[in-house]
């Protein structure tokens, strides 16, 4: 850029010439800037490396343009030492001055660490412990906030709760119905094939009724809600953390646990059991429809057979699971949302971890339910 004007800018060139006194001179000419070097850097570097070994003086006075890229290319070829015999245009001096100023390269030392794997395992364990403690603290805080809410119901974040129920419940009706229906049809189709070979057609009601109401309905709902609302909650809190909105709430004296976390926990604890009922109902209808096609069992027969085949305690168990799963998903999502660091990668990783963890936690909770209520509601009367 220093040499603008009508003069034609030539390509970078490098020649070895013999001077009058018998010594050799490397003569550089043309443009040695990034625009010219971009496409030729590799070829020129190879040639420079080859030439730099030979003792000779350097003549850069024919260089039309120079910038840091050209200067650095030469500098590296010279082994980061300025050649003793160098002729240079005064206005190009500046590019080398910048290079000479800082010779020291920071020593990056990679030391062998025999304890690294052990330390790694320890760090993972500590991180896990940290997560568990953090989540417990959040759970305790939410419990205390809900007690406060019971004492002063008028000051509760009702608007937020209602909005959250709408977002995570009402808006999820479509997807849960679609998935529930498909699962019901599939389960019914597969079971009826088996049952027909035993001539035990009527047991389709027991299998579908018990399986869907007690187990599948709550699980499908939990997985869908974890993917839909869990990720949204984590991302929302994460962005609020990044943009310091959480701190803004805190300095206004509005505890974010009450305003943001409690409404989400309550909303999911309310919305998920309702979604469970809805999903189970749609799945059973799908199953009954499939049974009609496969086994010729009428829909009425199926529905009338349900109360006898499935004790009503299973319905309460399904709803109870919905409450627990909903609250767990919200807590896990909030926990990961609050731990997000102010960078884009952390936001993505945090959201993924939140969804994976909440599904895992839900399955764990489901297993605990199964053990505790092993003797409840499965009597084949």
């Amino acid at each position: 850029m220093n040499e603008r004007g009508p003069k034609v800018v030539r390509d970078p060139e490098l020649d070895l010439r013999q001077a009058g006194d018998g010594t050799s001179v490397h003569v550089l000419s043309g443009a040695w800037d990034i625009r010219a070097l971009e496409s030729r850097a590799r070829a020129l570097k190879a040639r420079l490396d080859e030439l730099a070994g030979k003792p000779a003086s350097w003549d850069l006075s024919g260089v039309q343009r120079l910038d840091h890229v050209g200067a650095l290319l030469l500098w590296r070829a010279w082994g980061k030492i300025r050649p003793t015999a160098l002729s240079l245009r005064p206005e190009h001096e500046i590019f080398f001055a910048n290079l000479e100023g800082h010779q020291a390269v920071p020593a990056v030392q990679w030391r062998f660490d025999a304890l690294a794997p052990i330390r790694g395992v320890g760090n993972i364990a500590l991180l896990l412990l940290d997560h568990v403690l953090d989540m417990l603290r959040l759970f305790g805080q939410t419990l205390m906030d809900s007690l406060e809410l019971l004492r002063h119901p008028s000051r509760g974040p009702w608007r937020e709760i209602s909005a959250s129920i709408y977002r995570s419940g009402t808006e999820a009706l479509g997807i849960t119905a679609a998935v529930g229906c498909l699962i019901g049809v599939t389960l019914s189709y597969l079971s009826s094939e088996q049952l027909r070979s035993f001539g035990a057609d009527t047991f389709i009601v027991n299998i579908l009724g018990l399986g869907i109401i007690r187990e599948l309905g709550p699980m499908i709902c939990a997985v869908l809600v974890a993917g839909r609302s869990g990720s949204a909650i984590t991302a929302q809190l994460g962005v609020m953390r990044v943009t310091e909105e959480l701190d803004a709430l805190a300095v206004m004296g509005i505890p974010y646990t009450v305003r943001l976390i409690l409404p989400k926990v309550i909303a999911l604890a309310v919305a998920v059991p309702l979604l469970v009922l809805w999903t189970s109902a749609v799945a059973l209808i799908g199953g009954a429809f499939s049974a009609k096609l496969q086994l010729g069992m009428s829909m009425t027969q199926f529905i009338l057979g349900l109360p006898a085949a499935v004790p009503s305690i299973n319905l309460w168990l399904g709803v109870g699971k919905g409450v627990v799963f909903g609250a767990l998903i919200a807590l896990v999502a909030c926990h990961f949302g609050l731990r997000i660091q102010p960078n884009t990668e952390s936001l993505g990783a945090g959201t993924t971890r939140s969804v994976v963890t909440s599904i895992t936690v839900v399955i764990l909770a489901d297993a605990i339910f199964a053990i505790i209520y092993a003797d409840v509601g499965i009597s084949l009367s």
Partner: protein, 277 residues
């Protein structure tokens, strides 16, 4: 820097219209920036400074009119040609816009790597050189942007903007969010780099101190066009209400008082006139 008749302008904006719905932001706007100049765009809030800069950068399209950068029209040129233009300019965004997922080193190395022309050793040395140029210690090279202070982010963003040896540098509020001390040293840094490397600078700023100490020319954006375009002294000398408000308020006077000598005299006369009338 020779501004002879043969020298082509770096930026040419001609007959530019920007319309948001019913609201006309720019009406028939004209702007020419010559190489080696430092041009400041000033104007009130909503006058469309940032929009104009984004249009020159090709991030937004104007409603009507043409924008040429390095003599190449931004509208209707081949994408490969536009890509070449983009490698010849550097942009310093207001918040730095460092890639938060990458450490400082990778942030600066990214444009170089994209060229696929240089080996790892070269890229390393180049990044370190650029860090030296913006006075950032090399030990910070592997830190993440979130671990850095606002002043360091600005400097590193400047290093990234300069890594492809740009001929044109865009600065969006270069000193916003910096304390006066840091902002002054950042201005000095830009000034010394510009003096050494001779690139053209176009900047949007509200900060009068930055404006006074950096700009060769000031473009006042008001009433939907570039109302005045000239040296700071010339602009201050016109008695337009916006200019009076902007430059001749208490803060403006203080900033102008610190201006170089040739500036100071005409500014002073104008001040007397304005306070008299």
């Amino acid at each position: 820097m020779s501004n002879g008749a043969t020298v082509e302008p770096v930026i040419e904006v001609h007959g530019l219209w920007t319309v948001f719905g019913e609201y006309v932001v720019h009406r028939d706007l004209e702007l020419t920036v010559m190489p080696g100049e430092i041009v400041s765009l000033v104007g009130g809030s909503g006058s469309g400074k940032t929009t104009l800069m984004r249009q020159i950068l090709g991030l937004e399209n104007p409603h009507r009119g043409s924008i040429k950068v390095f003599g190449i029209p931004l509208q209707g040129s081949h994408p490969a040609l536009l890509k070449k233009i983009r490698r010849r300019w550097g942009v310093l965004f207001q918040e730095g816009a460092l890639y938060s997922a990458l450490p400082v080193f990778e942030n600066i190395a990214l444009p170089l790597r994209e060229l696929r022309a240089f080996d790892e050793g070269f890229i390393h040395d180049m990044v370190m050189l650029k860090l030296d140029m913006v006075d950032i210690e090399r030990r910070h090279a592997w830190k993440m942007p979130s671990d850095l202070s606002g002043g360091m982010i600005k400097r590193i963003a400047l290093a990234r903007a300069l890594v492809l040896e740009p001929e044109l540098l865009f600065l969006d509020e270069p000193t916003a969010g910096l304390d006066p001390d840091r902002s002054e040293s950042f201005v000095r840094l830009i000034q010394s780099l510009q003096a050494k490397l001779g690139f053209t600078v176009i900047m949007v700023t509200h900060d009068l101190d930055t404006l006074v100490s950096l700009s060769d020319r000031v473009a006042v954006l008001a009433e939907q066009k570039i109302l005045f375009y000239g040296s700071l002294a010339e602009v201050v000398a016109v008695g337009h209400p916006f200019v009076k408000n902007f430059f001749l308020g208490e803060r403006g006077l203080r900033a102008l008082a610190a201006a170089p000598e040739q500036m100071y005299v005409p500014a002073q006369t104008v001040i007397r006139n304005s306070s008299g009338g």
